[in-house]
Amino acid sequence: MKCQHCERPATFHITELTEPTGPHIVHLCEEHARIYLSQGSEPPAPNTLAGILAKQLQLDQTAEQLAKQDKKTCPVCGITFAEFRKVGRLGCAYDYECFKEELEQLLVNVHGSRHHQGKRPSRHVAPPDRQQELIQLRRQMQEAISREEYERAGEIRDRIRQLEEDQEQAD
C-alpha cells in the first residue's frame, strides 16, 4: 500500500478514534506520518491558577471592583486577596469563607463544581470559630512580641495553652 500523500510505501496505518463520524484510517509513509501526527499537537494554553483567575476577573469586573476585591483581607491569617492572586496559595482554612464568592467562581472554572462529594471526617469536625480562634491568637501573640508588648503576649499565650489543653482533652 502506498502513502496517501506520496509514492513511498505506507508504513503507518493510523486509526483516528476521535473523529465524530467514527473511526477513520489513514495510511502514510514515515515522513508524512510524522507531519500528520505533529499537526495540532501544540500544548493547550497553560491552565495555571493565575491564568484562570486573571481571565475570570477580567471578564466580570471593573478596575474599581478589582482594586476593592484585592484589598479584601482575611481576619484570621491576614492574607489579602491580592496576595492570594499573586502566589496562588491560600493562607488558612478560613480563607474559604472569607473569599468564598471569588473562590466559588474559580472552583467552577478549575473543577467544574463548587460542592464536595465523597469522603468526610467520621468524627465531629471542631466548630470553625474554635479553630480560627487559635490561629488568630497565635498571630496576635507574634505581633505583640514584635511590638515588644511582652505582658500582652504572655496573656495571649496563656489563652492559647488553655485552648490547646481543652482540645487535647477532647481528643
Binding site: 496559595r89 488558612c92 467544574g112 462529594q117 469522603k119 471542631a126 507574634q142
Partner: protein, 356 residues
Amino acid sequence: MKLEELAGKCGQWLKGSGPESDIVISTRIRLARNLADFPFVRRASDDEKVQIVKMLRGRIAKLPQWEQTAFWDVEELEELDRQFLVERQLMSRELADSDGDRAVVIDPQERFSLMINEEDHLRIQVICSGLDLESAWEQINALDDALESKLSYAFHEQFGYLTACPTNVGTGLRVSVMLHLPALVITREIEKVFRSLQKINVAVRGLYGEGSQFMGDFYQISNQVTLGRSEQELMDTVREVVPRIVEYERRARFFLLKESEQDLHDEVSRAFGILCTAKKISSEETLHYLSKVRMGVNLGLIRSVDILTINKLFVHTQPAHIQKLRGKHLSVADRNIERASYLQSHLTPKRDSEEG
C-alpha cells in the same frame, strides 16, 4: 533505619508483581490534608511549623500502622540525602527545597510515606506495584482514617478537605499511574494518544511529577480535578483510561515485533550491550538504554536478566543513589564511572568476588 540501609534495598512497588506490571510500573495515591488549627504552611511562622511537626510526630507515634516507620527531619538532612529520597519517590522536590521545619515519615517497605509541611500540613502517599487502584485506595483510606482519629482536619461542609491551593480542594486526592511506553514512543504514536486524553480530564506528567521530562519513556497519568466527584469517581476516570493506553502500547509492541523484529531485537541488544560494557555513562543515557532493555526483557528478546533487576536499576543508577550505594560524595565524572561499573556488575553474570 539509616538511609544507607534503604539505598541497597528496593521498594515493594518496584518488584514488578502487580497487575499489568510489564507496562504499568506503579499506582500511587496521595491525599492532601491540613490541620484545622494552624494557618496553611506558606503562611505559618517558623515557630508554628516547628509546633506542627512536633505535634504530628507525637500523634503519629500512637498509631499502630506507624510503629515501624522512620522519621526524618528534612532540614537536618544534607542535600545528597534529600536528593536520594526524591529519587526514591518518597518525597517531593518541593519538600526537599523549601525551608522551615518539615519532615518525611517512611514505611520501611516503602508502601507509604507522609510529608509534613510541604504545600499542605500533611501529604499522605501510598505506592503499589502495577495497576492496583483498589489496593492503593484501601491502604490510604485506612491510613487517613487512623490519622484523622488523632487530628482535627480542616474540613468545610461545602468545599470538603481544605487545601492551600484550590486546585487540590475537595477530596485532596491525586491518583498517578506510572506507565512505561517505549513502543508508543518508537512508533511516534505517543503524542496522539495523549492528545486524545486531554478530553477526558486526566493529566500527563514525566517521571518526577509536574514539569518534569518524559525520561526513560515513563509517563504518569493522573486525575485533573479533585472537587465535585467522589474518590471512587475520580479513580474511575483513571481506571478507564489506563487499560486503553496499555492496550495501545501492547499493540505497538506487537506491531514492532511483526513488522521489524530484527530491527527491534538489534536495537534492544545494542542498548543492552552498551549498558553491559560502557566504562562511563550518564544517568540520562542510562535511562534511555534501560528503557529499551526493559522492553526487550518483557518481549523475551533479552533473557539473561530479569525485570526486577531492570526496575531496580532505574532507581539505583540515579545520581544520589550511586553516591549512597558507594558511600561517598562523587563528582559527575566519577559518578559516570561508578554507574557504569554498577550496571556491569548487575547485568553481566556474577563472578565470585564481585559485589552484589
